[in-house]
Subunit: 406 residues, 2 copies
């Protein structure tokens, strides 16, 4: 069954909005040191307030603020130095009216004090007496016991990949393990009689090494997923269906890079139709039109064009968001991008998303053309720009947003 005539093409926006599996990966607990970029399954609450005690934010003297009111260079307040607080220890002395206690940055505010005067606005002209030359308001130089985080407040939300600073806040709160979604397991199947493993040293005439699987594995890893190499399937009736039935039980997402010929593509559509429901066959994107999306009993499947460049472009647009979504992340982290002026006119068809590979030099985005069969374009490009679906092209000089590869 070819299937091609039964399914309408969709736009990329329709696919992103409509092809959203309900499936999410299981929840697992990982130690903080392994939690970078993992997606919390639930908001993580603070077990206790932070910093947990009234804390000085400056080096200086803990005082009763009222004792400094009206102090100036010409008419300082004179306070009795009653002692000092050590870092990491409970204060051994309280502040009484007319007195002060030396405190380093980060130390506990002693009882009786409600502010800390910075050392810069003080002088110890007589032993045991501190001159204060500037008033401090109540609360000045101090953070409250729950000013950073209140007990029970959300330290990090669910669904947003953990960033380096998040790990710091979790550590501060004593959270040393986090419940996160497992990495989405992405089975990667290549098809085509001409495709051989990258380790093949001598190619027979017409053979090509599998470029797409290695590059897809990189994109999956970048999206927080776990690539599961699932080999190369020849263009034989039944072979792809058999491989699909093998990988589906263990996969959260299946990616098939189809053979590049019409026959091979039809073979793919037939095999997929035998194990699942085709959601669309054909995407309004260039390159990448012969893309297939299907639901295989709850496991989404992306059928990619055989051309490696097209396959990677499409996977970036519709596959990468799926890898994030399956692991509980609705909104993938933003890609790197830069503004540039377009170096030449670009034609496009209305209703189709065009992805154009570009170099960026001194603020000018220069499209890379040539046969789309060339893989080297993707390594020479600094990134890509998109010509949106409604546009019929972009004029040279237009300001464009270039998504940068990294």
């Amino acid at each position: 069954m070819s299937g091609r005539e039964f399914f309408t093409a969709r736009t990329v926006a329709e696919a992103r909005a409509g092809f959203r599996p309900r499936r999410r990966t299981a929840v697992e607990h990982v130690p903080l040191a392994a939690a970078l970029h993992r997606v919390p399954a639930e908001p993580v609450p603070a077990p206790a307030p932070l910093p947990g005690f009234e804390r000085s934010t400056v080096d200086g003297f803990a005082v009763r603020a009222a004792d400094t009111f009206g102090a100036s260079e010409g008419l300082p307040s004179y306070l009795d130095l009653l002692g000092a607080v050590r870092m990491g220890a409970a204060p051994e002395v309280a502040v009484r009216p007319g007195g002060c206690v030396a405190v380093p940055t980060g130390a506990v505010l002693p009882e009786g004090a409600d502010a800390v005067v910075m050392v810069e606005y003080t002088a110890e002209t007589l032993p045991g007496t501190v001159e204060v030359t500037r008033p401090v308001a109540p609360g000045g130089g101090v953070v409250g016991a729950d000013e950073d985080v209140a007990a029970g407040a959300v330290l990090v939300p669910a669904g947003r990949p953990l960033r380096a600073p998040d790990l710091g806040l979790l550590a501060a709160a004593g959270v040393t393990a986090v419940a996160v979604h497992a990495r989405a397991r992405v089975a990667i199947i290549s098809t085509g009689d001409e495709v051989v493993p990258p380790s093949t040293v001598d190619l027979a005439p017409g053979q090509v090494r599998d470029a797409t699987a290695s590059a897809l594995a990189g994109l999956v890893t970048d999206a927080g997923g776990e690539p599961v190499p699932a080999g190369i399937v020849a263009d034989e009736p039944g072979a792809l269906k058999e491989r699909l039935l093998e990988v589906l039980p263990e996969a959260d997402l299946v990616v098939v890079s189809a053979g590049s010929s019409v026959g091979a593509r039809d073979e793919t559509a037939g095999a997929v139709a035998a194990v699942g429901d085709i959601w669309c066959h054909g995407l309004a994107i260039k390159p990448g039109k012969p893309t297939l999306l299907a639901d295989c009993g709850g496991v989404p499947l992306v059928g990619l064009p055989g051309n490696p460049l097209s396959a990677l472009v499409v996977f970036g647009q519709v596959g990468v968001p799926l890898v994030w979504l399956l692991a509980g992340c609705d909104t993938p982290p933003p890609p790197s991008s830069t503004r540039a002026r377009l170096g030449r006119d670009l034609a496009s068809a209305a209703g189709r998303l065009d992805i154009v590979q570009v170099t960026v030099r001194e603020g000018v985005a220069e499209p890379l053309f040539g046969p789309s069969a060339l893989l080297s374009v993707l390594t020479r490009a600094d990134g890509y720009l998109t010509v949106p679906e409604p546009a019929t092209g972009l004029d040279a000089g237009t300001e464009v947003e270039v998504v940068l590869y990294r």
Copy 2:
């Protein structure tokens, strides 16, 4: 020795340009599947041309282009169908004048042919005869044997972290292992009598859990480095020097987050001065002024402020580029960023780089203020903007570039 009075503050730009260790990590060979974001030590040349054979880029018929000249819908060229080329196999038939051979996309161009007519511009009205309704130029529908990559051409350059598509091109060329720089080993030391491990359940008064080390480990990992936790050192004379002597032989970079009090900072400077040469003490950056950079017998050392937020900001500005550089990458991959309008006026001092944490909502960057001692600012922020060194501030409404966290 305090050291503070002997060293001038530097700007961040001076530090980036002048504090550049010669040291590079060793070269190791990693398989392609583990090479993502690793930094090639040498340019990787193509062992052979790609695709390696003259290849059809379309489904159609291999022809001698001259046989199609003048063909039109009204007056087609009629060619004898001589056979078909199978995918991944050598052609078994050549094209002679007046003849054609069916070829799928990606197949080898048969001998005698110099172009491929797309199937869309043909018809097989009589068995064994193909009507061509549009002329094709020589080379049309074909990529040359070395058109993607010539033998010996550079597949990927040295010094640029490998991206997903690079892995595809390397795989296509049969390169299954790459010589890359080892990950930079970054020893992370925390100091301070008040600092305890994140796993500490019950805090004594004045104690804080070590937030900085976990967050720094995340930043190091993001920069392709290998964080090496090196524990917490108390503010005791000699303790930090001893720990530094332990970690230096195994480290490519040492990071010390200093105690936050003046005394603790002086202790750090003294210990560092005893094992290396201080390059600067004080950076013209806010937050993060009390930063120290030193050369410890060829191993760079970054002494960070005790305040976790300041420490992370400074490490992002001067530490992250060092982690990349040590592994052979001069120009780190660009961060994610977005343009936004500033939501309110920002004051700054000329000559100082200000890093301002912001949220971004609907194109408006809203600064997050509050005591810099608050760690939660970094998890609430979407990113940061910089007020450049010459500026004395930015007006509300100014268009700013916000570097986004990810």
